[in-house]
């Protein structure tokens, strides 16, 4: 019993930095996982990845001008992310090009700008920080930001839920009954950006998208209802956060990759063992009903 306590509870009970990391990761799960469900259902999972790269030059600009400060890096990331989201979205809606191509073009330009800026003045340690984050060093400002983003995301999802579902399920129908089609798409891209920005302090620009996509992709194998999928994704995100932080603590692993790898395990288990996963849907069935 004591061994179990030492293994699972003590790290969080005894160390303030672990409590802050846990709080940050749980808030991020509540916020980013349902956004990830909609990204996945809109077949935009890789767009999340592209957006994560896109915020790099903004964060780098903030870092170059003000050093490792959360506010300027966040504002920079937000501006860069929004510019890429709006630019790619506008090209996709106003020209013949589809969003996958325009998004790829915009994020690649953005990423190269970011790498250029970091290499101009930063060291490789700085680059590592921006790319991989430090969940174990979340300060008050970072936690406040994550909390604000989580609140904004939940309110936006609650308000726009019906439009988001309609836009995913039948976009042409939504356009025939409402003018919300385009605005809701951009609001959604905005949610993706603010969640990535919130995540990059903790997990870095490269891995913050992991907490968004992996729990969502895992949840898809268990349920057919969007609302349950969101709740399950949040649960899996939290579970991955806790197990990742514990792994990081006990085995001295970097915390960001440990959290995302835990989510990866949840995904692998779901692919195989989920009620809509490989084993259940592909097993040979000879028994069948008459109708």
């Amino acid at each position: 019993m004591i061994a179990l306590y030492d293994l699972l509870v003590a790290p969080f009970a005894e160390f303030a930095f672990m409590q802050r990391a846990l709080l940050g990761a749980i808030l991020l799960s509540i916020s980013a996982c349902p956004v990830g469900v909609f990204l996945m259902l809109r077949r935009m999972s890789l767009t999340g990845d592209a957006m994560a790269h896109a915020i790099l030059p903004g964060a780098a600009a903030g870092f170059l001008l003000y050093g490792l400060q959360i506010v300027p890096m966040t504002i920079g990331g937000l501006i860069a992310g929004m510019m890429v989201a709006l630019g790619a979205g506008a090209v996709a809606r106003l020209t013949i090009q589809k969003e996958d191509a325009s998004m790829a073009a915009f994020y690649l330009i953005s990423l190269s700008l970011g790498v250029l800026m970091v290499s101009l003045r930063g060291s490789s340690v700085d680059l590592m920080h921006v790319l991989f984050g430090t969940v174990l060093a979340l300060n008050n400002a970072a936690l406040t930001l994550i909390g604000l983003v989580a609140a904004t995301t939940l309110i936006a999802l609650f308000v726009f839920w019906r439009a988001l579902v309609a836009e995913c399920l039948d976009p042409l129908f939504l356009r025939s009954v409402s003018r919300l089609g385009s605005p809701v798409h951009f609001i959604f891209l905005g949610l993706v950006v603010i969640n990535l920005v919130a995540g990059f302090q903790a997990l870095g620009t490269l891995l913050s998208v992991g907490l968004m996509i992996l729990p969502a992709a895992a949840a898809r194998f268990w349920t057919q209802r969007t609302e349950f999928m969101c709740l399950l994704a949040i649960g899996l995100g939290m579970l991955s956060s806790v197990s990742g932080l514990l792994l990081s603590y006990h085995l001295s692993l970097p915390s960001g990759p440990a959290i995302i790898l835990s989510a990866g395990v949840a995904y692998s288990v779901s692919v195989l063992g989920g009620t809509r996963g490989l084993l259940f849907t592909r097993r040979p069935r000879t028994a069948h009903r008459t109708a």
């Binding site: 259902l41 308000v159 726009f160 019906r162 439009a163 579902v165 309609a166 995913c168 399920l169 039948d170 976009p171 042409l172 129908f173 939504l174 356009r175 025939s176 009954v177 409402s178 919300l180 898809r220 349920t223 057919q224 209802r225 969007t226 999928m229």
Partner: protein, 268 residues
């Protein structure tokens, strides 16, 4: 009867090539019109113009104020892999009533249940939409139109790849809407079906060939004229300089070139 949709010199198209060229006329309230023509003759484009999904290149298309519109496109953008049940799909039809935030009330659920029953899909409420057959999906989409409770209903090729029984059931629904004084426009290719069930037809070949009572509009002469229509764009076509000067259907009679009552079998 007053006008539900008014076309005035309406030209719709893509890349400066017209798909509907200088259309004039009126769809009256409570009318049931078949929109007939070859592939590429501008039928779907006209539907999109009425819905407002496509902006006119010239002229205008005016839908009477206060009109509630329901549109069933030919190529639905419906994502069948989305985790939704039949009841979720049909409930989308509540949007005009409840919008973004309106609470779904017991009478709304009742309306959805009644619509499902009207299209013969009782018991399908909880079926995931990715398990439906083509006909069942089309019935679900008609149920959604029912729930929308629209007074202008636009159906673009609703009978494509649908079996005879389902077509008959859907025709009954269309007739019910007509009897309820709703305005209905249906794109259809089966001329026998149109002659049997539709009082009016608009025969389109980029320009209106004929528009009026179905037996007049679909006369052999008009059908022959429509069949001579060449759908390909002409990259060297001269620029149209006289808006409204090309072709007109008449508001009052609504009939063009209707000089024969003879029937011709066939389809577009």
């Amino acid at each position: 009867m007053s006008a539900c949709v008014t076309f005035k010199d309406l030209t719709l198209g893509y890349n400066s090539h017209p798909a509907v060229h200088h259309l004039n006329g009126v769809i009256r309230e409570g009318s049931l019109t078949a929109l007939v023509g070859a592939n590429g003759s501008g039928k779907s484009t006209l539907m999109k113009g009425i819905v407002g999904l496509l902006k006119p290149m010239a002229g205008y298309c005016k839908v009477a104020p206060g009109t509630r519109l329901a549109y069933l496109p030919q190529q639905s953008e419906l994502d069948r892999s989305f985790p939704a049940r039949v009841v979720d799909l049909v409930s989308l039809g509540l949007w005009p009533r409840r919008g973004l935030l309106g609470r779904i009330r017991p009478e709304d659920r009742e309306a959805v249940a009644k619509a499902l029953s009207a299209v013969g899909l009782e018991g399908f409420e909880k079926r995931p939409i990715d398990t439906l057959s083509g006909g069942q999906l089309q019935r679900s989409l008609f149920a959604r139109v029912l729930v929308q409770d629209a007074n202008l209903i636009l159906l673009d090729e609703p009978f494509n790849a649908i079996d005879a029984k389902t077509v008959a059931d859907l025709i009954d629904l269309i007739k019910r809407w007509h009897s309820e004084k709703r305005t209905v426009v249906v794109v259809a290719h089966d001329l026998d079906l149109v002659r049997q069930h539709f009082p009016a037809a608009l025969l389109l070949a980029r320009q209106p060939v004929a528009w009026g009572e179905v037996r007049d509009a679909l006369s052999p002469e008009n059908l022959l004229r429509a069949r001579q229509f060449h759908e390909a764009w002409d990259e060297n076509a001269p620029w149209c300089e006289a808006p409204g000067a090309i072709a007109h259907s008449h508001h009052e009679t609504g009939i063009l070139h209707a000089d024969s009552h003879a029937h011709q079998r066939g389809s577009f």
